[in-house]
């Protein structure tokens, strides 16, 4: 008979732990008996958990609580406390000293949170974001106090370099290296900027992070200011984020009250303050040189680099500009140590990355995973797979600057380099999952339409080239594609990539190029067969009335906006294809499934 177990204790049986754990398992089984828990708890084994030096490790499901360095004598307590009294044995909790992932037990909801690891979002959904006391109570501002007390600015920079942190705004530039050039640059005044412009369609990582825990961003910026030698910080945030703005204002005001911002922070020699600047929401203003121009009150247009902002930035002063998520990582790196951060991820990409998971997955939402997690784990484990049991078709990362990857790339580990090699980019964290009903030409058109609109117009390839590409895509989806259109798109795309000034232009062809690379047959179907395989592009659909199914009710005829359906009542109707505008109204009105769409 199958027992209805409530808990499973999973014991590591990896090669390093196994010799200790066989004995442990015996003890656990005996103890379960002794406490009369055999109907509730079963014992399973797991593969190496990758923390051999912390072993023996026990994981208790479904709570997903891990206990480390478990000794024989601890078993009775774990069973009685955890299982019977539903209280964690904090003394044995794995990583109990770290702030990364510190609220893990509280998240519950193992399906969604089980494969996540929360560094920048550690407090989101846990603390009250409008109370600095809440943040302080969970080791808030301790990293700042620590660097002011025991680190020299150079030591802070070295720590960030050692962590391997790379910019989360899209470019992936090593943060420590950027800080070093800001530090080394000569200037009486230096600026720290937080880029919260977040303009990718559908992206909301930075908004949620600020709304959930504004103080960690502020703390990161103050630490950066100390490292670089800046006394002024600016958060550039889009005006469409009123709640995030309000929470930043509250956090800044509360930090000033506590002398965490302002003159002689916590009694040290270091002074720093932060102001907000509201952006009007142009996508190009997220580009760092355009952002700086916008703060200076000029038109938000990119400038050629060099000079880099770290040498000549805001008001020509040395300026370090980082993304919201980059800043939010800083306090954790300082408190948990660069080694802990660098222990996560792949060779070239360390730590975690936040994604806004959207589209055709069952669980949409904000996820933070360790670098090196595969796309499959994000989409199928955390995301719960494709909604409505449809088939997976592609995943889009990097928004309008990124690309679409088909199923053979699902096992790609998330990492700046591997995504690039696959033909997409990490980007700032947009991740849109598409199922079999999505038309890849249509998606490419959607993104190109966005970038084309947002091009600032400064350089011709970006301004005119994207317009030309968009025209071609439109005609392909309308059934007027020409045989050499794919080649034309490839040529134009490569030209724009090479000759645009800023990242917006350079990356704008990516959605088109990647869909041509991986879904060329769909373009060909549109162009040569005048068919949209997913039945998305309306102009390419034909509607036909099936003579034997039509009962002549006349409903379609009545509703057709161009009156191109004819037929006598009670006799089969027909569509005059020459006049049909492919609106689909007849198809959805017919109650007898007499109209087919192909």
């Amino acid at each position: 008979m199958k027992k209805d177990y409530k808990y499973a204790i999973s014991v590591c049986a990896g090669s390093k732990c196994v010799h200790l754990n066989n004995e442990l398992i015996d003890i656990i089984l005996k103890e379960i008996q002794r406490q009369g828990l055999e109907d509730q708890v079963k014992v399973t084994k797991s593969a190496c958990l990758g923390y051999c030096e912390e072993g023996p490790l026990l994981v208790i499901h479904p709570d997903n609580i891990t206990y480390a360095r478990v000794q024989k004598d601890d078993i009775a307590e774990i069973l009685s406390e955890h299982i019977k009294n539903r209280r964690w044995v904090t003394r044995l909790l794995f990583h109990r000293d770290q702030i990364a992932n510190s609220f893990f037990p509280q998240f519950g909801d193992v399906d969604f949170f089980g494969k996540q690891y929360r560094i920048t979002l550690r407090n989101c959904g846990v603390i009250d974001p409008e109370s600095i006391d809440d943040y302080l109570a969970y080791r808030g501002y301790e990293a700042l106090a620590k660097v002011l007390t025991v680190f020299s600015p150079q030591q802070v920079i070295d720590e960030i370099k050692r962590s391997g942190l790379r910019g989360r705004g899209g470019g992936g530039f090593p943060t420590g290296v950027k800080w070093q050039s800001g530090h080394d640059a000569v200037g009486d005044v230096k600026y720290m900027i937080c880029n919260a412009d977040e303009g990718d369609p559908g992206a909301f990582m930075d908004r949620s992070a600020i709304e959930g825990d504004p103080n960690t961003v502020i703390e990161g910026m103050i630490i950066g200011g100390y490292a670089v030698g800046a006394s002024k910080g600016i958060v550039y945030i889009r005006a469409e984020y009123p709640l995030a703005i309000k929470r930043l204002q509250i956090a800044i005001a509360q930090a000033r009250e506590r002398n965490l911002l302002g003159n002689n922070i916590l009694g040290s020699e270091f002074s720093f303050d932060i102001d907000l600047r509201l952006g009007a929401g142009a996508f190009v203003c997220g580009e760092e040189t355009a952002l700086i121009a916008s703060i200076e009150g000029k038109r938000g247009m990119p400038k050629p680099r060099p000079p880099f902002p770290t040498e000549k930035g805001l008001f020509d002063k040395p300026t370090v500009i980082n993304n919201v998520e980059t800043w939010a990582n800083i306090p954790v790196i300082i408190l948990d140590g660069a080694e802990h951060f660098a222990s996560m991820g792949t060779e070239k990409s360390k730590g975690t990355k936040v994604f806004a998971l959207a589209g055709a997955v069952r669980n949409t939402g904000l996820v933070e995973v360790q670098m090196g997690t595969t796309l499959r784990e994000i989409i199928f484990d955390i995301g719960g797979g494709i909604r409505d049991d449809k088939a997976f078709k592609a995943v889009q990362t990097g928004g309008p600057s990124g690309g679409c990857l088909p199923s053979q790339y699902l096992d790609t580990p998330i990492d700046y380099n591997s995504l690039m090699a696959a033909g997409s980019i990490m980007g700032s964290g947009g991740m849109i999952v598409m199922d079999e009903t999505t038309c890849m030409v249509d998606i490419a058109k959607f993104f190109l339409d966005f970038t084309q609109n947002e091009s600032c117009g400064k350089c011709t390839p970006c301004r005119e080239g994207t317009k030309r590409m968009l025209e071609i895509l439109i005609r392909i989806t309308e059934g007027a594609g020409q045989p050499d259109d794919i080649d034309k798109l490839l040529r134009l795309g490569t030209m724009i990539q090479k000759s645009s000034l800023c990242g917006l232009g350079k990356a704008s062809p990516n959605p088109v190029l990647s869909t041509i690379k991986h879904f060329r047959h769909e373009y060909e179907a549109h162009i040569f067969d005048k068919k949209c395989p997913t039945k998305t592009c309306k102009s390419l659909l034909t509607y036909t009335i099936l003579e034997d199914k039509c009962i002549g009710c006349g409903l379609c005829k009545k509703n057709c906006p161009v009156k191109c359906i004819s037929g006598e009542k009670k006799y089969s109707h027909s569509i005059n294809q020459a006049d049909c505008i492919h609106c689909g109204v007849c198809f959805s009105t017919c109650k007898f499934e007499a109209i087919i769409r192909e």
Partner: protein, 118 residues
Amino acid sequence: MSSPLDRLIHMQSEAKNKATESKLRFPVRIFVGNATCENAAGAVHVYNELVKIKEEQKLDELYIGRTGCSGRCDKEPIVQVMMDNRIPTKYFEMTPEKIRKVVEEHVINHHVITEWAL
């Protein structure tokens, strides 16, 4: 002269005392998500309803708080119920009517409504 770290540790312990004083001393604590996405899903109504329930039923042992968004966009509004010595429970897609039931079943009768819990 105390170091920045000394000062901060002092500040932190005051903050912790405050947290204990204002929240943890309540045996039952309910937190409602409060972010752009949560509010769009109707979290504010759930929060207001809770405040009303607390007053109506004189639930003095209940603390009502707010948090940011934990990331479960499609399941919002999310409400976390924490009770002493019990595993925290998260309820999803809450409405004013459902939260009434949660208070009745979970808080008063100690009975988790599993269909609504994550």
